[in-house]
């Protein structure tokens, strides 16, 4: 179980203090699929990074399976079963797709068959990709899918994906949602997915709308989707003005 207690995160910009996250508390039970959604700049990624340890909160506490991990390093949290798929994954000159999957799995003798399974689940063929370097020769979408494959290889208890659909073509996206659905169905992991995609939102047990550094709404996809639409369209003064004119 993941528990966030009174998480706040502020940064200084000159004389001004910017509050990115404001006293957020939430609990996510095991094997749940939770989607964080909401407007850009609302704090979703910061909140996810705080769970992984990529960002240190100004105040608050993070408990993972009852253990206080607030002051643990990224490495320590990774070893406790938390993983994180980056929105914009880095590229590595000299590290191959096989190297990355091997590192992620923690199994030095990771078989080609296993690699193939992970890559197939994100719509890539092992024969074409396994020995390729994860460098600029790969497209953004390819790097993104390899990133997700690395999280599958990690096979951790808590998987966090930051906008996994970004940069991925429609065909691969369909494959990806099947993969999320499958992980969820088999109850192997708790998943937090940051997403704006209706298809992914509809997979969620719970949708959390993060905006302006706070949790605006929580509920099922059926509850939340109409509210999101109302917030994004109905709440736009420019659009409203145009309609009136």
């Amino acid at each position: 179980m993941l528990e966030l207690k009174h998480i706040s995160y502020s940064v200084r910009e000159g004389e001004e203090q910017l509050d990115i996250l404001k006293d957020i508390s939430l609990t996510i039970d095991d094997h749940r699929l939770v989607v964080f959604t909401g407007p850009n700049g609302g704090g979703k990624t910061t909140l996810a990074k705080i769970i992984m340890g990529l960002v240190t909160p100004t105040s608050g506490q993070i408990l993972w399976n009852g253990q206080d991990v607030t002051n643990l390093t990224i490495t320590e949290r990774a070893r406790l079963g938390i993983s994180y798929g980056f929105q914009q994954p880095p590229r590595f000159k000299g590290l191959t797709v096989r190297d990355l999957l091997t590192l992620a799995s923690g199994d030095e003798k990771l078989s080609k068959d296993k690699c193939c399974q992970y890559l197939t689940r994100v719509g890539l063929c092992a024969n074409d990709y396994l020995e390729r370097e994860v460098d600029v020769s790969l497209s953004g979408g390819e790097v993104k899918r390899i990133e997700i494959a690395s999280i599958l290889a990690r096979n951790s208890q808590l998987m966090i994906f930051d906008e996994p659909e970004a940069g991925i073509d429609l065909w691969s996206f369909a494959r990806l949602t099947e993969t999320f659905e499958q992980i969820h169905r088999t109850g192997k992991a708790t998943m937090i997915i940051i997403s704006h995609q209706e298809r992914i939102i509809s997979l969620a047990d719970e949708v959390i709308v993060v905006g302006d550094g706070t949790i605006r709404h929580r509920g099922t996809a059926a509850d939340i989707l109409p509210q999101i639409l109302a917030d994004t369209l109905g709440g736009c003064p420019v659009l409203t003005k145009e309609v009136k004119a």
Binding site: L54, Q88, K93, G94, L103, A104
Partner: protein, 308 residues
């Protein structure tokens, strides 16, 4: 041959040799010959012009054979200048594995200057691998200054892979390759310096023949207070294609200078160069930490991959 542990370890590091190699070989140890074997197709003989070194002659049509010619220095104070000439016949496909390892536990300098000259016949392919490594806790310097000059005849190819593994206090490399018609040179250079080490690599690829190709991929890591200078130069004298790519990772208080140059002496020459120097990207370290590696393990993994 290969009497002790130091010899064995050095030979494994620089030439991947475990025991007596298959095929032709010449092992040079402390300025003497520690073992030699010629084969039906590859003949190794000592130089007869008074210079130190060997001649390697590969007969026309030799395919799939490997020739090992490692050099090891295990006594402090040895300074040598060695000339090795390779005469590769036509239509060959061979591997040449060179490399030099120095074990210096004394206070005197050990130095190996090697001049390798290749004459590669028509339509032959040569893969040339050269690794350099130094070890030993003495104060004596470990110095290597390799020169490699290659002449490629029509349709010939050389794939040259050079690696300075670690432990070389000072190196001054010079590489020159002249490509004839349809010839191709692919050079991959890997270099690591640490401590107060200095390294300089001067390279000149001359694309003389029509449809010749040259490609240089240089990757280096400079740690601590070490310094590196690269001068990769590509000259196009005919319709040709050349590409120079230099990438370096800079760490600690190191200094790196990269000065690639491309010169076209023909309107049909197409030459490209790229050079980049930078520290390890923070997001690379973070990504590997999220996979459970410590920051130190992540750094080591990135460097190992970069120099692989």
């Amino acid at each position: 041959m290969m009497e002790n542990e130091i010899d064995r370890e050095l030979l494994e590091k620089i030439a991947d040799m475990l025991g007596k190699p298959v095929g032709a070989f010449n092992i040079r140890k402390d300025s003497g010959c520690d073992g030699r074997q010629s084969t039906e197709h590859i003949e190794i003989t000592s130089k007869t012009d008074g210079k130190s070194g060997i001649d390697i002659r590969v007969k026309d049509g030799t395919v799939g054979e490997t020739c090992h010619i490692p050099v090891i220095i295990t006594k402090p104070g040895i300074e040598e200048m060695v000339y090795n000439d390779f005469y590769i016949g036509e239509n060959c496909d061979v591997n040449i594995v060179a490399g030099c390892g120095i074990h210096n536990c004394g206070d005197q300098t050990s130095r190996h200057d090697g001049v390798h000259t290749f004459y590669v016949g028509k339509n032959s392919r040569v893969k040339y691998t050269e690794k350099h490594y130094g070890e030993g806790d003495g104060k004596g310097g470990k110095i290597m200054n390799p020169q490699t000059v290659v002449y490629l005849e029509e349709g010939a190819t050389i794939q040259m892979e050079t690696t300075q593994i670690r432990g070389i206090d000072s190196t001054k490399r010079y590489t020159k390759i002249v490509c004839g018609k349809g010839a191709e040179a692919i050079i991959t250079e890997r270099l690591l310096t640490h401590g107060d080490q200095v390294a300089e690599s001067d390279m000149e690829i001359v694309l003389d023949g029509e449809d010749s190709k040259g490609r240089v991929i240089s990757r280096s890591v400079a740690q601590d207070q070490s310094s590196q200078v690269f001068y990769p130069r590509m000259v196009g004298n005919a319709q040709c294609f050349g590409h120079v790519q230099c990438d370096s990772i800079i760490m600690g208080d190191a200094k790196i200078k990269s000065i690639p140059a491309i010169t076209a002496n023909c309107t049909e020459a197409q030459l490209v160069h790229e050079a980049a120097i930078g520290k390890i990207a923070g997001d690379q370290l973070l990504k590997l930490e999220t996979l459970g590696l410590t920051p130190e393990e992540a750094e080591e993994c990135i460097l190992k991959g970069f120099l692989a």
